[in-house]
């Protein structure tokens, strides 16, 4: 009887540890979501740059055939196709949520890293690295916002 009881408690203790690791994995996955969001924020200047490069390429591709075909060029019309308001609005929408997303995902990342470090049965190096990266990228994005780079 004692043996069965000891076995049950042993199993339950192991299962409780598994629950804890599951919580860590879920929090880490949520932190990864925040990581992707904050990476988008941090890369916003590059996206803006790429947007203008894309516009430039399209303009060049549009201008040359028009010049060679002898038609009168209406640059205003072409520029109308690439209204920056839409992009700015989307980026602005992304930008305003940054402090909240950073707060939530940083808490998730730190909590998951602590849980993963406590788990002795498995190594979770990848997840711990991602948790650390989430916090770092979040801080970088916040600094960029404070410095006005991403406005």
């Amino acid at each position: 009887m004692n043996k069965i009881k000891a076995g049950f408690f042993m199993e339950q203790r192991e299962i409780n540890k598994m629950h804890l690791v599951r919580l860590g994995v879920v929090l880490n996955n949520l932190a990864i979501l925040g990581f992707a969001y904050m990476l988008l924020n941090a890369l916003m200047p590059i996206f803006s740059f790429l947007y203008f490069v894309a516009v430039g390429i399209v303009l060049i591709l549009a201008i040359f055939p028009w010049i060679f075909s002898g038609f009168q060029l209406d640059l205003g019309k072409i520029a109308e196709w690439f209204k920056p308001e839409f992009t700015t609005q989307v980026l602005q929408y992304l930008y305003t949520g940054l402090p909240y997303v950073f707060g939530v995902s940083a808490v998730c990342a730190v909590a998951s890293a602590v849980i993963m470090l406590l788990d002795k049965s498995q190594r979770h190096t990848g997840r711990i690295v991602i948790a650390a990266l989430t916090v770092v990228i979040g801080i970088v994005a916040l600094i960029m916002k404070a410095a006005g780079v991403t406005t």
């Binding site: 199993e11 299962i15 598994m18 599951r22 994995v25 049965s121």
Partner: protein
């Protein structure tokens, strides 16, 4: 002082088995050749070595925990998968130790009621349990959870449709 060196090579279907020596949980470290090794020191002349595979769904309050994680992980999107196969094992052996004993535990391919572990030790070993089995109780519980999760998803979709209709059409 007797030293017990254990090298374990688990099967890929049996993830994270638990190793116990005299009822005490022992943690292994993965070595470069893919084996999980540990070193155990004891004053005893014989120890009971046991290996088990526990399933999370077999715990107390399994339903509450499953539902809780399902909602925390945003309807299971960010949740880790449960072990659907429900393969378990129980292995117990009594080892009479030398001054330094090396034990190698190689996991066999899963076969219902078949031998789970092939043990090679440089000391006398007396196996008392060695079996693979499918946990039917866990399978049943997983099936119940699958149905509950499906119902939750249907409810969430229905709520989303109603909200969209209310917002867009003013229905």
């Amino acid at each position: 002082m007797n030293v017990l060196n254990i090298a374990m090579r688990p099967h890929y279907m049996i993830k994270n088995p638990s190793l116990f020596i005299d009822g005490e949980r022992v943690y292994t470290k993965k070595s470069k050749n893919g084996e999980y090794t540990c070193r155990f020191e004891t004053e005893k002349d014989s120890v009971e070595l046991s290996v088990y595979k526990f399933l999370e769904i077999n715990g107390k309050f399994w339903f509450l925990y499953s539902i809780l994680f399902f909602f925390i992980s945003l309807l299971g999107i960010f949740d880790a998968h449960y072990d659907n196969k429900c393969y378990c094992l129980k292995y117990k052996t009594v080892l009479t130790l030398n001054e330094e004993t090396n034990v190698k535990l190689v996991f066999n391919q899963f076969k219902e009621s078949g031998a789970a572990i092939n043990c090679t030790a440089d000391c006398p070993a007396e196996e008392t349990e060695n079996e693979y089995y499918t946990d039917k109780k866990a399978k049943k519980r997983l099936k119940i959870m699958r149905i509950v999760k499906l119902l939750c998803w249907l409810a969430a979709i229905a709520i989303a449709v109603v909200v969209i209709l209310y917002k867009v059409i003013g229905f």
